[in-house]
């Protein structure tokens, strides 16, 4: 098996091959003066099983086109199979027509991956449970939730949050920042021994895109919030606005601590500053998206999905 990395998340790719006890196969990307790029595989892949690792986060179009070109080069060079590891699948929030006349961008990307004859895709925590159904090729849909559950139950984390680690889960609740994340929150609650959960309700103005979070929903009555420790769980943090507003509402209602767990660190706009200056206590993300140094902040903790990807590739 030969593994190639695109340019979006080299550190993750390097950790994956280290875990697998191998090395990245050489690939070179030349950038021309007009901004066009040319990829070149610097090793034979004839009759080989190949893997390409590329998250399609910002700059999303460049990362997708690079992925397409690498796959095109692998196929034209006679690779036996191509597995695309796309830890963060860009355009995944545009997975259906919200308003007449709109594009379904995710489908354009998926159809093209299929037409390039990719054999298999591995992705993490897709925004909607229906996304795997859009693929006509095999897709392994992995989740970072077990990783989060493990961290939440660790002594080290419990000691951070409370003086009485033994009793940690007793006063801890899960929070979905909007009603779209119910399935995710139910899975997480089950992993943590069916602890209670609540959701904050997000209203989005489709014209302006502005969000506001002012009320609760879900099985736990808001009257029981005082004194609780909240763990907000979501698939991604984009501008951070949702997380910050959700945490604000929770603290206004008597919650004593608020930690965030989200798989994909998109961190658009001023997200790092917004999160650091908010009343969120800690922010946990994974390395599906490489967080550049200038976007790191003291409250941020990054967990690694390397082991899970390595395991999926060995399977």
């Amino acid at each position: 098996m030969q593994l190639f990395s695109g340019s979006s998340n080299k550190p993750l790719a390097e950790e994956i091959v280290k875990t697998l006890g191998t090395e990245l196969s050489p690939i070179e990307t030349m950038i021309f003066p007009d901004g066009e790029r040319r990829v070149k595989l610097n090793t034979s892949v004839l009759e080989e099983d190949t893997v390409v690792i590329q998250s399609t986060n910002t700059p999303v179009d460049q990362n997708y086109i690079e992925l397409f070109f690498i796959i095109d080069a692998l196929k034209r060079s006679g690779a036996k199979s191509v597995t695309a590891v796309i830890p963060y699948l860009g355009y995944q929030r545009q997975d259906h027509v919200f308003r007449d006349g709109e594009v379904v961008s995710l489908e354009v990307m998926i159809r093209f991956l299929e037409s390039l004859k990719v054999d298999k895709v591995i992705a993490f925590d897709l925004h909607s449970i229906k996304i795997p159904e859009l693929f006509q090729i095999p897709i392994t849909h992995l989740s970072a939730l077990p990783l989060f559950a493990e961290r939440i139950q660790s002594k080290a984390f419990n000691a951070l949050v409370t003086d009485n680690p033994e009793e940690f889960l007793k006063d801890t609740i899960l929070v979905s920042p909007d009603m779209g994340g119910l399935r995710r929150i139910e899975q997480m609650a089950e992993m943590l021994g069916n602890i209670p959960w609540i959701a904050t309700v997000k209203d989005r103005d489709l014209q302006s895109g502005d969000i506001s979070i002012k009320q609760f929903d879900g099985p736990l009555p808001p009257s029981e919030l005082p004194g609780k420790r909240a763990l907000i769980v979501d698939d991604m943090i984009s501008s951070g606005g949702t997380m910050v507003q959700s945490a604000q509402l929770l603290k206004d209602n008597g919650v004593v601590s608020c930690d965030v767990f989200a798989t994909h660190a998109i961190f658009s706009e001023e997200a790092p500053e917004l999160l650091q200056d908010s009343n969120i206590d800690r922010v946990y993300v994974t390395d599906t998206v490489a967080v550049p140094e200038e976007k790191l902040f003291p409250k941020l903790h990054i967990l690694s999905v390397v082991e899970m990807i390595a395991k999926a590739l060995k399977a």
Partner: protein
């Protein structure tokens, strides 16, 4: 009389065609719209994380849709805008979707020039067809074989149609048309014939593929002494090749050296090189939206391809021949 008929067709509310544009070259799209007496809509906006959003508001049902987009720099974003507009148009039940691509990016990655590289221009064409495009219209595509990358119709028209009147205006004497490299000989021959040139010349260069955009003029075939020389090419990128050739020709005693090219990319040091060169004037088209510093460059003149592209769109819409009238 014919024009009156056109006015009637265009003034009907439910026209049978509609022009949409991406963000690459909106002024050109507007000019095309003006000639075709119709508005042009740009359906693109951008999410905060940089993802493109397309929403087409006009009704497209059973209409012929023309998506005008040069895939110039930033090339990947411009390609994706085009693909996503095609998907939205297809879902909105357009009867036919034509991608009008005055400048086609990645056109130079048209073959496996070495082992284990993609054929990027082919991959881009497949992406567009996959997204819903039924036909492609390009202007001076770098190599016409690229048209074979897809099985859908692909029309290619030439910038010479728009450049020739401007070139004739220059009233060049003892005109010699020159190609800056061996590959451009046929293009130069075409211009030479249309401009009734006195002669032709070819500059030779050896390009080392392993080194990026490095080129060297080594020799020239043809008589240029005391001639007005016109160098022709399909595109000006870093301008290294063309400036080498122009300076060499001037050193050989040419009276003047002009350059005509369809696509002005002007990457890297191109503008400075042109300013410092022996080139008297460079005439290009607006297939790529000229940046302000291009407009400011005293040696560069720009002619518009809007009438050519508008006429090609009109002919695609009505089913008339493109090759008979538009290819000189």
């Amino acid at each position: 009389m014919a024009e009156q008929n056109n006015d009637k067709v265009y003034s009907e509310k439910a026209r049978d065609f509609i022009l949409l544009t991406g963000r690459a070259n909106q002024p050109l799209a507007e000019s095309i719209g003006k000639i075709l007496k119709t508005g042009v809509t740009c359906p693109i906006s951008i999410f905060s994380d940089g993802e493109i959003r397309v929403r087409i508001e006009p009704n497209l049902r059973r209409r012929k849709v023309f998506l005008i987009q040069s895939t110039s720099s930033p090339v990947n974003d411009h390609i994706m805008e085009l693909a996503l507009m095609a998907d939205a148009a297809r879902r909105a039940n357009a009867s036919e979707i034509t991608a009008v691509i005055p400048y086609y990016g990645y056109a130079r990655q048209d073959r496996k020039e070495m082992s284990r590289v993609p054929i990027s221009s082919s991959a881009v064409a497949s992406l567009l067809v996959n997204a819903g495009i039924n036909r492609i219209l390009t202007l001076d595509i770098h190599t016409e074989q690229t048209e074979g990358a897809i099985s859908e119709p692909w029309d290619n028209v030439y910038g010479s149609y728009s450049l020739l009147p401007a070139l004739k205006d220059r009233k060049m004497q003892n005109l010699v048309v020159a190609s800056p490299d061996k590959g451009g000989f046929l293009r130069a021959a075409g211009y030479a014939k249309l401009l009734q040139a006195e002669g032709m010349a070819i500059a030779y260069k050896d390009r080392d593929l392993s080194v990026n955009n490095i080129s060297e003029t080594v020799n020239i075939i043809g008589e240029v002494k005391d001639k007005d020389v016109l160098l022709v090419d399909d595109m000006i990128d870093t301008a290294g090749t063309i400036v080498h050739a122009a300076n060499f020709i001037k050193e050989r005693g040419a009276r003047s050296v002009r350059v005509a090219a369809t696509h002005g990319l002007f990457s890297g040091e191109a503008l400075k090189r042109i300013s410092d060169s022996a080139i008297e004037e460079m005439i290009i088209t607006d297939s790529i939206k000229p940046r302000q510093e291009v407009l400011n460059n005293k040696k560069i003149s720009i002619v518009t391809v809007a009438p050519l592209i508008a006429e090609a769109i009109r002919r695609i819409r009505t089913g008339e021949s493109i090759s008979q009238a538009l290819i000189l």
